[in-house]
């Protein structure tokens, strides 16, 4: 039972990575204003969906490795790794902060099914915002362009959260 879940999680992660690299990256290839400032990131959902029982250290390492894999395909050495590791750490803090009375059920994952829509929205929105913000800081790597960082973060955040929540509603992952 446990093994099958792990296997399913890994398979899901690979499919999401493929969708990110082959579909979502290509969508951004348009000269419209909208796409010049925004991108769609679905793959952080892999980190967001990790079950509660996995310890913070593993989540951090996973964030770093997945970030590097994405970096390899986006030609942005280190930027995705930086942002995703940051989000993976924030996940631990956020889970402690959002912990319901009675704690988490360790067999569950942070999903709509387990935690309800309000909880999930807060959790996803805060995490994704941190991710987008860190990503653009890493990409531009100086605060000279603070306005641009904020603009890009906001646009990317809204497009990404639509897709991430869309994933939750479409597939309604249980674990």
């Amino acid at each position: 039972m446990n093994n099958r879940d792990t296997f399913r999680n890994i398979l899901r992660a690979i499919i999401i990575l493929l969708v990110q690299i082959l579909v979502l990256k290509r969508i951004g290839l348009s000269s419209q204003w909208w796409w010049q400032h925004g991108q769609i990131f679905l793959y952080p959902i892999i980190i967001l969906l990790i079950p509660f029982r996995i310890t913070r250290h593993y989540v951090l390492l996973l964030g770093f490795v997945i970030g590097l894999v994405i970096d390899m395909f986006y030609d942005t050495v280190g930027v995705h790794a930086f942002a995703l590791t940051g989000m993976a750490y924030a996940r631990g803090v956020l889970l402690a902060w959002l912990e319901p009375r009675g704690g988490y059920q360790l067999t569950m994952s942070p999903t709509n099914h387990a935690m309800g829509i309000n909880w999930l929205m807060t959790y996803t929105a805060v995490s994704m915002f941190i991710f987008c913000f860190l990503y653009f800081i890493g990409e531009i790597f100086t605060f000279v362009y603070l306005g641009q960082i904020l603009l890009k973060t906001l646009i990317t955040f809204f497009m990404s959260i639509l897709v991430v929540m869309g994933y939750h509603f479409l597939f309604n992952p249980k674990r």
Binding site: R26, Q36, H57, T76, V79, A81, F82, Y89
Partner: protein, 272 residues
């Protein structure tokens, strides 16, 4: 000692986090300063192959459009060669043929883009030719519409190029009408425009003037079309014009490209 150990255990997640972030930032910074292949790029075999397969599927749907555009480009080139040959022949003494005096210094290698981006601060693209097809680092990449990039890293079968939409790119470009030249850079997030800097104040510029490569570098041959002047101004107090150039090539849609091999450069290198 015991306290220290307890501290480390208690904050181990945070320490791991700081360590990983430091590694990631080191990668970002090192990569930005010297563009060496310290990292697996999309020119590597695994990612290159994946992009190639995905691109093949995509291309198949657009095959007819590509064939049409290639055919029309071919016709245009034939026409150009024919006209050039005729005019050159007219200038030559009648006992010489063109072939004996044409200097072949640039060689073009045709390639296909299999991965591209335009909305990052530093953009790159990947092509389906690599070292085994003669692609080397530092070669220029052009398309039928203008210049598009410079090869950054050449793998065995694929190569990654810095797009002209990259914050570190500087290309020597000139105004076709009067030959004034400056350096072309990408400053904004707009993939349709670039900025041509350091054009002397006495230059006569008009909106709509054609911008071409200047030929003052080994990377691109002289006279490749880049774009048109859309707007120009002098930065406060400066004696130089800054020109906003509208690129002729839509970088987002480019597909077939040619890698420029400069055989003069090889000659010079060999002599040195």
């Amino acid at each position: 000692m015991n306290n220290l150990l307890q501290f480390v255990i208690r904050y181990s997640a945070f320490i791991l986090f700081l360590f990983l972030e430091a590694v990631a930032l080191t990668l970002v910074v090192r990569y930005n300063t010297n563009q060496q292949g310290i990292f697996q790029h999309s020119s590597s075999v695994i990612s290159g192959k994946l992009y190639k397969v995905a691109d093949d599927v995509y291309q198949y749907n657009h095959l007819q459009t590509f064939v049409d555009s290639l055919a029309s480009e071919n016709a245009l080139l034939k026409e150009k060669v024919f006209n050039l040959e005729r005019s050159v022949q007219r200038l030559l003494p009648s006992d010489q043929t063109i072939d004996s005096c044409v200097l072949e210094s640039f060689h073009l290698i045709s390639a296909q883009i299999i991965n591209n981006s335009i909305n990052q601060r530093n953009n790159h693209f990947t092509i389906d030719k690599g070292r085994k097809d003669g692609i080397k680092e530092g070669m220029g990449v052009i398309s039928e519409q203008g210049i598009v990039g410079i090869i950054e890293e050449s793998g065995k079968e694929y190569a990654t190029a810095v797009s002209i939409l990259h914050s570190a790119v500087q290309i020597s470009a000139a105004i076709q009408r009067n030959g004034y030249f400056g350096s072309l850079v990408w400053k904004e997030t707009d993939p349709a425009h670039m900025i041509l800097e350091a054009i002397p104040g006495q230059a006569d510029i008009q909106i709509g003037d054609t911008i071409i490569t200047s030929g003052y570098s080994f990377i691109f041959p002289k006279g490749i079309y880049i774009g048109k002047v859309e707007q120009f101004w002098t930065e406060g107090g400066s004696n130089y014009y800054t020109i906003k150039v509208r690129l002729h090539e839509d970088i987002a849609r480019m597909n077939r490209v040619y890698v420029v091999e400069n055989q003069d450069e090889n000659l010079i290198r060999n002599e040195q």
